[in-house]
Amino acid sequence: MKARGLLGLVLVLGLAASARAQGLSLSLSAGVFAAGQETYREIYGPGLPVALEGWLNFRGAFGLSAGVTWLRDDGSAVAVSGGGEQYPLRFERLTFPLTIFFAPRLKGLVLRLGAGLAFHSYREKWQTVDLGFEGTCLGPRVCAAVEVPIAGRLSLFGSLVYESIPTGVEYTRGERINLGGLQALGGVAFRVR
């Protein structure tokens, strides 16, 4: 329900904003995710996210972006004390970011610096044992994105995003799980108007 509500809000904001929008571009990118918490890195290592985002430029230098990022990571359970068994794990995360950005006018490229919120839905599943966990949460994000036109409406796209994803779940006493980290993405952008 939360996810649907947020999607509805994004849609309404997007429609309202697009009515006043000066330009719109869509980006499709993939890259690498490095979790901030060592616990996550130890279990899953670096992740491979895929993102689709829409970038609306308003009059002036500000704009709004929304989209979806999907991340799937395979890892294996960590043996806390000895042990040589393998317990394969799969982690999946779906993120819906909403970002307000500032785009200074630069010659030859489009640079966007933004901050916002993202809604995260995540799931961890043990592959050989009937164990799993699902959760959702909201978290802040900051991003920097760049578009370099290459031909007509097509541009090369790159972004750097830092997100905090506080789950509120304790890993051990005093240490709460944060699924956030830094992701670097590269891909293409298409200018719709």
């Binding site: 279990i43 890892g75 043996a79 068994e85 317990y87 794990l89 164990l131 304790e170 006493r173």
Partner: protein, 567 residues
């Protein structure tokens, strides 16, 4: 002269500095810490509070100003009972059995109710032993912290008892040997000392009698353990041992106190104490007589404690020394007043604390199987008025078997507590039930059966993801000659409801039990299977403790129980 003038202020300044640097004694208070707010024990453990008594609804602790500040800071609900706590032996836990008891206590000294049925009493005017009314049992606070033994309770719902359906013919034979005539004779002999008040020579003579009786049974060892009690009196516990054939260092105890009491005017000369507690002592001696001839896997100690009526002195001395020596005591069966029946059929009441519940469950099953007696369990950490309680304080598992709770014997602590008031049908059944439990736990060694496996160890291996964890137990044991395979059993409740894990006997001496829940304890035992299919006794238990790694409140364990059942 000038030098002297200079020297004096320097000397005084040095003296002042020295005085300031001396450790100052901090004022200590006796406080009551309520249990009602979540896992208080964990907070007390983190703050290293000096807890001296666990009761049903609260803990009693000694706390200085820093401790009190820390308790307030951690929002632990507590109240101060005495702001200037003296020596620990000044404080006695006493039961509030009648509406006017608290008033009476406050008239004799200082007293505060800490629970609806429990009070703390202390006085600076005379010995508490003399000041307290004789009809009230009493227990001093523990002389050391009980904090190391306050473990988080694990809420496990017990499935239908498996072990209760199995009647062991050897145990049946042993239980049947408990003799009513033998019990009667022993009670009469103890009553004949006229008084066994712990400070009297008659009590000392009763100790000699018990020692000589134990010595005549052909046990492996008999000895006195002397101790000093209540500012200089001396008395002795009497101990007999039947050493285990397989596990000599793992001990089961059956005990009862042999001292007695009556009102202060008569106690020096007349305190027959037939029910309290010649009955328990006689049952202990009878158990020693029956078991003396049988080889057992585990060591059994038969103990007659003294000075129980003065405040559990004998058992406190013994349990404290056992903990200091690191003794492995599997369980304690304390028999105190097991022969009076206000109506027949009489039930046997079994009092335990949360960590000793398995003992009560086993006694209930044994009473039903071998003595045709109904036993009823009460989990009540506030019932601290007999010799099981010091064992609780030292982290050992112990039960109290008693005829009624609350007591109904009108001759309790009176000169009229004599053998003619006892019901020997109920008494014999109680003695049989306790002996049967002892024999089941100590495990008679059977001729022609494989030997009991030894050297069982369980090593936990924890695997964890971000949000979940599972545990494996790696078991290993020593190979036993004459054994063609082994069976491995597991339970979540110590000594109860073992479930076999393997379909066919395991031919190696290792076993791995996977996919265990991290938050539950697991207990394992192994049996040897002979070439003819006969199965040995259980090995001693190996434990995998619950882990506190996963503190999440949201962890969802999906269909975990179904998974365990499917296995």
């Amino acid at each position: 002269m000038k030098r002297a003038r200079l020297f004096l202020p320097v000397f005084m300044a040095c003296g002042l500095l020295f005085a300031l640097s001396l450790p100052r004694s901090k004022p200590v208070s006796l406080v009551k810490v309520l249990k009602d707010r979540g896992p208080v024990w964990a907070v007390l453990e983190r703050l290293q509070i000096d807890v001296r008594q666990e009761l049903e609804t609260c803990f009693l602790a000694l706390a200085d100003r820093e401790d009190l500040r820390a308790l307030r800071k951690n929002r632990v609900a507590f109240s101060i009972i005495d702001r200037e706590a003296g020596g620990i032996e000044d404080y006695f836990i006493v039961p509030l059995r009648a509406p006017g008891t608290l008033d009476e206590l406050q008239a004799r000294g200082r007293a505060a109710a800490v629970e609806p049925r429990t009070a703390v009493f202390w006085t600076t005017a005379g010995l508490p032993m003399e000041v307290l009314p004789s009809e009230l049992p009493r227990k001093p606070l523990s002389s050391s912290s009980v904090l190391p033994f306050l473990r988080a309770p694990v809420d496990i719902k017990r499935a239908a008892p498996v072990s209760a359906a199995f009647q062991d013919p050897v145990v049946e034979v042993l239980a049947a040997q408990v003799s009513e005539a033998g019990l009667r004779s022993l009670v009469q002999s103890l009553q004949d000392f006229q008084t066994r008040y712990a400070s009297t020579t008659q009590c000392e003579a009763a100790g000699e009698f018990i020692y000589n009786t134990f010595s005549s049974l052909g046990l492996d060892d008999v000895w006195f353990e002397p101790f000093v009690f209540s500012s200089g009196y001396q008395s002795r516990n009497v101990i007999a041992e039947k050493t285990g054939e397989t596990y000599a260092d793992d001990v089961l105890i059956i005990c009862g106190h042999y001292d007695s009491i009556s009102p202060s005017a008569t106690r020096q000369t007349l305190a027959p104490g037939a029910d309290d507690n010649a009955s328990g002592t006689a049952a202990v001696i009878e158990a020693a007589r029956v078991l003396a001839a049988y080889p057992l896997d585990f060591t059994v100690r038969f103990i007659a404690f003294s000075a129980e009526e003065w405040g559990l002195w004998g058992s406190r001395d013994y349990a404290g020394k056992a903990r200091t020596a690191g003794e492995s005591i599997i369980g304690v069966i304390n028999l105190d007043m097991i022969a009076y029946a206000d109506a027949m059929p009489e039930d046997l009441e079994v009092i335990v604390n949360g960590r000793s519940e398995w003992l009560a469950e086993r006694l209930i099953a044994a009473a039903d199987l071998y003595a045709d007696l109904t036993a009823r369990k009460t989990v009540d950490p506030s019932f601290v008025y007999s010799d099981h309680s010091p064992f609780w304080d030292q982290g050992y598992r112990a039960l109290l078997a008693i005829e009624d709770n609350p007591l109904r014997n009108p001759t309790y602590h009176q000169t009229t507590d004599t053998i003619d008031k006892l019901n020997f049908e109920f008494f014999t059944a109680s003695a049989r039930a306790s002996l049967a439990l002892l024999a089941e736990l100590a495990q008679p060694v059977r001729e022609g059966y494989p030997r009991t496996p030894i050297g069982l160890t369980a090593e936990p291996v924890v695997y964890r993801s971000l949000f979940n964890a599972v545990k494996s137990a790696r078991l290993s044991w020593a190979a036993q000659a004459g054994t063609s395979g082994y069976n491995v059993y597991r339970t979540n409740m110590s000594h109860l409801d073992y479930v076999k894990l393997n379909d066919a006997p395991v031919t190696s001496t290792t076993f791995t039990d996977d996919h265990l829940r991290i938050d539950l304890p697991y207990y394992y035992v192994v049996t040897g299977v002979g070439t003819t299919g006969l199965e040995s006794n259980f090995s001693r238990e190996a434990e995998i403790s619950p882990d506190n790694l996963m503190m999440t409140t949201q962890t969802q364990v999906l269909n975990f129980l179904q998974m365990l059942r499917a296995r």
